[in-house]
Assembly symmetry: C2
Homo-oligomer: 336 residues x 2
Amino acid sequence: MVTIHDVARAAGVSPATVSRVFNGGNVTPARAHSVQQAAAALGFAPNRVARSLRKQRSSVIGLVIPDIGNPFFTSLARGVEDAAQRTSLSVVLCNSDEDTDKERRYLEVALGEQMAGVIVAAASRDRTDLGPLIERGIPVVAVDRRPHEADVDAVMVDNHHGGEVATRHLLKSGYRRIACITGPEGASTSEERLAGYRAALRTAGHRPESADARAHVRHADFRVEGGRLAMRELLAMPEPPDAVFVANNLMTIGVLEALREAGQEPPDLGVLSFGDIPWASLVRPSLTTVELPSYELGRTAAELLLQRMSGGSSALQTVVLRTTLHARESTAGPRG
Amino acid sequence: MVTIHDVARAAGVSPATVSRVFNGGNVTPARAHSVQQAAAALGFAPNRVARSLRKQRSSVIGLVIPDIGNPFFTSLARGVEDAAQRTSLSVVLCNSDEDTDKERRYLEVALGEQMAGVIVAAASRDRTDLGPLIERGIPVVAVDRRPHEADVDAVMVDNHHGGEVATRHLLKSGYRRIACITGPEGASTSEERLAGYRAALRTAGHRPESADARAHVRHADFRVEGGRLAMRELLAMPEPPDAVFVANNLMTIGVLEALREAGQEPPDLGVLSFGDIPWASLVRPSLTTVELPSYELGRTAAELLLQRMSGGSSALQTVVLRTTLHARESTAGPRG
DNA sequence: CACCCTGCTGAAATCCTTTTCACGACGGGT
DNA sequence: ACCCGTCGTGAAAAGGATTTCAGCAGGGTG
């Protein structure tokens, strides 16, 4: 391997000078030039590991997401990358697969590799431990999901508002027995969307706390299969719902499949998805969605991280982004 | 930061012994135990950067993919992760976005960070330079796309065979003017699939080299938009095709959208997709696809990499995996 | 002319771990 | 009883960069 010493020898200067040339220290132009030449001739590439060891900080930022198969997170990742693009930092993705063990390992890697910063969409609210990173002074930004009592900057979606708008839309379309399939209990996103749903029902004079209404709420796992099973259960009820608010995109796929199985079709049974389904344009009837600002979420998180890295020890920030309702055919109203 | 020295002092041994405890050297059980205790008490976590510097090798493997938004690659990534899971290595993803500059930067990171190994689906055949990695002795495995004259292990799809089977299927279904929308010129996957398509036509007595037949071949960019544009062009021809073989999943989305725009629908105009569309189950008529072994591709690549890392300086291997045709409604045959 | 300040440079320390080397102790074979 | 091999251990070197510190030269000021 060609090191800074080799370059120094070739250019007739000290290693310190070579380092200064590459890191913007004070060096005579002539000398700098000969160092550049020597480096090019030898094909010198700085050893990032040695640099990280000395600087106590590497030049990659880690993005930990819970499901690489979910287009929401890949879009978010794009946002992060595009923002980081303009700096000298590289983004590496870590897929925790909603598994807190895998996530813990990745957070250990981030810590051990002394990453410049970490953006994390937590796999769990209480078992995601950002403490060690924070103690080590590594900037951390939480995105989409807020981990329990961690003092970090955060970029969130206004889930409550989104859930409320969605449910209000279903009510306005004439649906009366509106079910909700939300995510795992304990996940902030699940709970907030559910709370929004209940708030809208309450405002409309329903009583979402009644046993009857509670039976229309299902907790699933944010995956296709979970959505399918939950919908099957709802359809098997003595008085099945006439519409369903599905709290994430993948579960909506499962819901639509379950409906097709059962010979039901929107908008007779209204379906509203919280979060886009990629290429939903091909599905007929077209799907009403609450669109999430996934890309902006990522971009904003990265900007917050960069800002925090460049030193401002200002107060912690939480940015909340709004959703947008796209009304389409799947919620046109019950028969007639 | 608590270092190996702190642990050593606390346990009353030398740093070397602490290192041996964590790396499986010869240490008296009693001593080992007291080191473990001290480490736990102090919350010691080894500094991976220092370790990498000394060992000249880190413990992460890099996976460079050209499009994180393409489910084919995310599924491949899962395969890699699952295989790596059983080792102490962590996988980090790098999204090159089909951009050779971004890709080059990521390869530099892999080199500079002294990654334990790299799996790469090359963004370009000729401008993807794996040389420096190989020279440094970092094991590299090419997956899905073979970079030009690089001496690396590889895991590929039998694209030629897949293209041939696909086209033969269209012919058997009664289509006669079969177009092909393939990827960028120069990409191995594009060319091989196209060659398979042509081989099938030739066998059936067509003359794919004729000007007429050549006009039915379009090169696009493997993205939704490219597929849409190519299909629009094909539909605008004086004698438009009665079926189309689309060489990747995302372009098929665009093709279906273009058809819908033009008021056409499969199977009157047959559509066959090379590669799955996630949740295609929701699309009617259901889509005939050539299914790619994406997950297995990733898993096999990781296994090859691990094998290479564990020292066997055996001959280079290229593993080729076959595709599977799933005939569905979209190629049921032209009207009637 | 004396002094100080600035700008450039190189030697050496530093970051933290792994690994080599040397050494002492101990057990077994002759 | 002697020697050899093995095992466990610690001191110290190595890995490659950054950064501090001190020194030196040159220009500007009083």
